[in-house]
């Protein structure tokens, strides 16, 4: 018998703007030792489904409108709050998406680990601090925290993202649950860390025979670890079945669309570097930041070398991909080239003119020739300006348009980025993430720049939207003859879009070359690790890949 049997689950959100059917008639089951993956884009209801099982949704506005969720024969949806606490403490545990925000910053990780044991609702299951600590330290060892005894008393901010997620996993396992819900456990992590965490979850599942529900938007991640897959969209199930069936014998159109949207394989367009003349020349560029955290201010440690002696050229018309994990300095390099971050040394030349050393006023004429697209379209647009105002501001500021003909220019931009002109008077919050990124791109190309630096422009987007935005970027680069530096942590995306690639790690460019050459024969160990860590949306290949790590 399945350990969890959900049938006909309905969760509606009662908001001021009406009822949103977040989860509508969803049924599934999981067995012990089995992994069920729930796949969907943002807003598909995959997280809401799982949170409703543990009563973790804010009510109101959420309301469970129907269905049952039988855990070992007992309905989770109708149990009392005391029974629910028992389930949370004994039976079901959750690993949340963002390890940066899911741990309490005010308490040591040790304290947070042992809480479920020392405050157990069942009096005769309460353990002493000493016992609980012993167990927690052993578990920290098991999930790969080095020097766990000493780390027990550290605060979350003293851990890196990957380490925090390991702590979260230990925290979920400490009560020895029978069902583990993993809500996008690797989405906030770097690709090499993701590979390690996935492997860890898989290993722990095998040794403990727990049932796992694995929520993800990434079909590549799911391919290697799931036994069954549930594809959700708009609160309903689109397709469900064994992993191989879903990937190799796809039935549903939406699943097909999801699979097709995964950027895979080499770039299809021809290499664009038409001229040898460099548009950007960067020589020995250094950007250092004062080290705030380090206590021993030795000469060596006083600065964080975000960009350390980087030299590169970007030819006119080229798309250069810059790849690195978080903290590699890739964003700082992009900002330093645009003179948006104060540089410490070296020089940046833009079509022969040295930009380093110019003051803000002298930079103005150059600013219109180089623009930036930012990662988060939710944060990078001014929420109090309409699209029209956002798009017309750079045009008016740089004198490209006048008050009289501005409307025509802005309408043209809306056409360029594929937005309807009827939406000109709307504010950013009225748009979806993909539409907002289109606005951000429109703002960047408004001044007819020669260079665009795109900093993770698709990382915050769903995979189907990501594919559309990538195609839009390629199309605009072609049409406006742009030169582009495309910064990303996602190697597949970079491969899909770039002519040439640079790999950055700890402030230094460690390897560069033509995209396909580099993919075929990476020279540096770090590059090899990066490439090996990319999840593949092919169950057989992905299982093999995970096993080989």
């Amino acid at each position: 018998m399945a350990i969890l049997e959900v049938s006909g689950l309905k969760v509606y959100f009662h908001t001021r703007n009406g009822v949103i059917k977040a989860v509508d008639d969803v049924s599934f089951s999981v067995d012990s030792g089995e992994t069920l993956a729930i796949v969907g884009e943002s807003g598909s209801g995959k997280s809401v489904t799982c949170y409703s099982l543990l009563d973790l949704l804010p009510k109101p506005p959420a309301k469970i409108e129907g269905g049952t969720a039988l855990f070992a024969g007992k309905d989770l949806l109708t149990c009392s709050s005391d029974e629910m606490r028992h389930h949370r403490c004994n039976d079901i545990a959750v690993i949340f998406q963002d390890p940066m925000t899911s741990l309490n910053p005010f308490l040591t990780i040790g304290e947070q680990l042992i809480e479920p044991l020392i405050y157990h609702p069942d009096k005769n299951q309460i353990q002493t601090r000493g016992e609980a600590k012993k167990k927690a330290v052993a578990l920290l060892d098991e999930v790969g925290i080095i020097d766990s005894q000493a780390r027990f008393d550290c605060y979350p901010h003293e851990f890196s993202g990957g380490m925090r997620q390991r702590v979260m996993i230990a925290m979920a396992l400490i009560t020895e649950p029978k069902l583990l819900i993993c809500d996008e456990p690797t989405t906030a992590l770097d690709v090499t860390i993701q590979a390690q965490i996935l492997k860890l979850i898989k290993k722990l599942q095998e040794t403990r025979n727990v049932a796992v529900i694995f929520i993800s938007h990434d079909l590549g991640v799911v391919a290697g670890i799931a036994d069954k897959v549930l594809v959700m969209c708009d609160g309903t199930i689109r397709e469900t079945g064994g992993t191989d069936d879903i990937f190799y014998r796809t039935q549903n159109d939406y699943t097909r669309k999801l699979l097709a949207a995964i950027p895979e394989g080499p770039k299809t367009l021809p290499n664009r570097a038409k001229s040898d003349e460099p548009l950007i020349e960067v020589t020995h560029l250094k950007t250092y930041f004062r080290n705030q955290l380090n206590s021993n201010n030795s000469e060596e440690n006083r600065f964080v070398k975000a960009v350390d002696n980087v030299s590169l050229e970007i030819a006119r018309g080229e798309i250069l991909g810059l790849v690195g994990e978080s903290g590699s300095g890739k964003s700082t390099l992009g900002r330093s080239i645009l003179q948006l971050a104060p540089t410490t040394g070296g020089s940046v030349k833009f079509s022969g003119q040295t930009l380093t050393g110019l003051n803000a006023k002298q930079l103005v004429p150059w600013r219109r020739k180089m623009q930036m697209i930012f990662q988060d379209p939710y944060a990078s647009l001014n929420p109090r300006m309409t699209v029209f105002e956002t798009l017309s501001e750079p045009l008016l500021y740089h004198g490209i348009a006048t008050k009289k003909n501005i409307a025509r220019h802005v309408r043209q931009l809306m056409d360029d980025v594929g937005l309807s002109q009827a939406q000109l008077r709307k504010y950013p919050h009225e748009f979806s993430g993909g539409q907002r990124q289109r606005i951000a791109i429109g703002r960047a190309i408004a001044t007819k720049p020669e260079l665009i630096i795109a900093d993770e422009p698709v990382s915050a987007l769903d995979v189907t939207i990501q594919a559309q935005i990538l195609d839009l970027i390629l199309e605009l680069v072609e049409r406006h003859n742009l030169t582009m530096m495309f910064i990303s942590h996602d190697l597949s995306v970079v491969r899909y879009i770039s002519d040439r690639v640079m790999i950055m790690n700890r402030g230094v460019i460690i390897e560069h070359g033509d995209t396909e050459t580099l993919w075929a024969s990476p020279k540096q160990r770090y590059t090899k690790e990066l490439l090996a860590a990319i999840p593949l949306a092919d169950p057989a290949a992905e299982r093999k890949r995970i096993a080989s790590i």
């Binding site: 949370r88 963002d98 947070q112 809480e115 405050y119 609702p121 605060y155 705030q292």
Partner: protein, 311 residues
């Protein structure tokens, strides 16, 4: 932490100097002088008095000699309380005002945090609306209205509590403390509600719930520390405000504290007393702000380590 405290104290020196200078010249430029109201006094007496208190010298010279005295901790003699120094007057009034402020703070924290945290636990229900409406009224209600109102109800109609005095009859400290504390309680209620709502919406609260902790433990252990940081940051200015703002309450309830000296000094053009009180209160405000900042840092492990790191 020491280095942080010391650097903040060093920064306080120019601030205090500014306070002294501005107050000194403002006071001296106000029309009238300490002895001009007493019409019956013959001019030679006034002249003698002015000589005695150095008021016949040019203002800048008075300023410099006053500054010299203040640096040595001497606020000079009071002009209006003959034979008593400003230091003596402050020492006499301070314990009473400090006690009043302390009780008022207890009222403010107790009522404010209870109401705010309670409201945050069930937002947009009666448990939220009722205390928040109360808080709104508390903020709007000036103490010169609230004080007499309380006296009318509890002192006269119900005859439960004494209507004035301080430490003479048992229970006479209750009404002034409540009068002074109410506004702050209201403000703290709103601050703690806001802080708690912010924290309760954090991911780590969801994590705590998912672990099966009781709702009480989640509030007390996981939410309070972060949720009350705005309140802690407000404590410094609040304490200073209580000390400096107590004069209304002290007047209503006939309490011989600092506040009454302050007001009388201003009416009487008692230069040294005004200046002395201003400098003393400014120093307290700076100190309390520093203390509450240090407390806020100490509560946040990350900040605590950063500060330690810079030492």
């Amino acid at each position: 932490m020491y280095r942080f405290a010391i650097s903040r104290l060093l920064q306080a020196i120019p601030v205090l100097l500014m306070v002294i200078t501005v107050t000194f010249f403002l006071v001296h430029s106000a029309p009238g002088g300490p002895f001009s109201a007493d019409k019956a006094v013959p001019p030679e007496v006034i002249k003698a008095l002015e000589e005695q208190y150095n008021l016949n010298q040019p203002v800048w010279q008075q300023y410099l000699s006053y500054l010299g005295d203040v640096i040595q901790g001497d606020f000079g003699p009071s002009f209006k309380y003959p034979g008593r120094t400003v230091n003596e007057l402050i020492t006499a009034g301070l314990p009473i005002t400090a006690e009043l402020a302390f009780y008022a703070m207890l009222v403010a924290l107790g009522v404010g945090i209870t109401a705010g945290v309670g409201a945050s636990m069930r937002p947009n229900t009666m448990q939220d609306y009722l205390p928040m409406t109360g808080a709104m009224i508390g903020i709007c209600m000036p103490s010169f209205l609230l004080g007499p109102l309380l006296v009318l109800i509890f002192g006269i109609h119900l005859d439960w509590l004494p209507v004035s005095g301080w430490g003479d009859i048992p229970g006479d400290k209750i009404l002034p403390s409540i009068t002074l504390g109410t506004g702050y309680a209201a403000y703290i209620a709103r601050l703690s509600r806001g802080g708690m709502l912010e924290v309760l919406s954090q991911d780590y609260i969801r994590t705590a719930r998912a672990k099966g902790l009781s709702e009480r433990l989640i509030i007390v252990k996981h939410a309070l520390r972060g949720g009350l940081i705005p309140v802690v940051a407000f404590l410094g200015p609040a304490f200073a405000g209580l000390l400096a703002g107590s004069f209304v309450v002290e007047t209503i309830f006939q309490i011989p504290g600092l506040g009454r000296f302050y007001v009388q000094a201003a009416f009487n053009r008692d230069y040294t007393l005004i200046l002395g009180m201003t400098i003393f209160l400014s120093t307290l405000i700076i100190l309390f702000n520093l203390l509450s900042d240090m407390l806020a840092i100490w509560l946040n492990p990350k900040l605590r380590q950063e500060i330690r790191g810079t030492n």
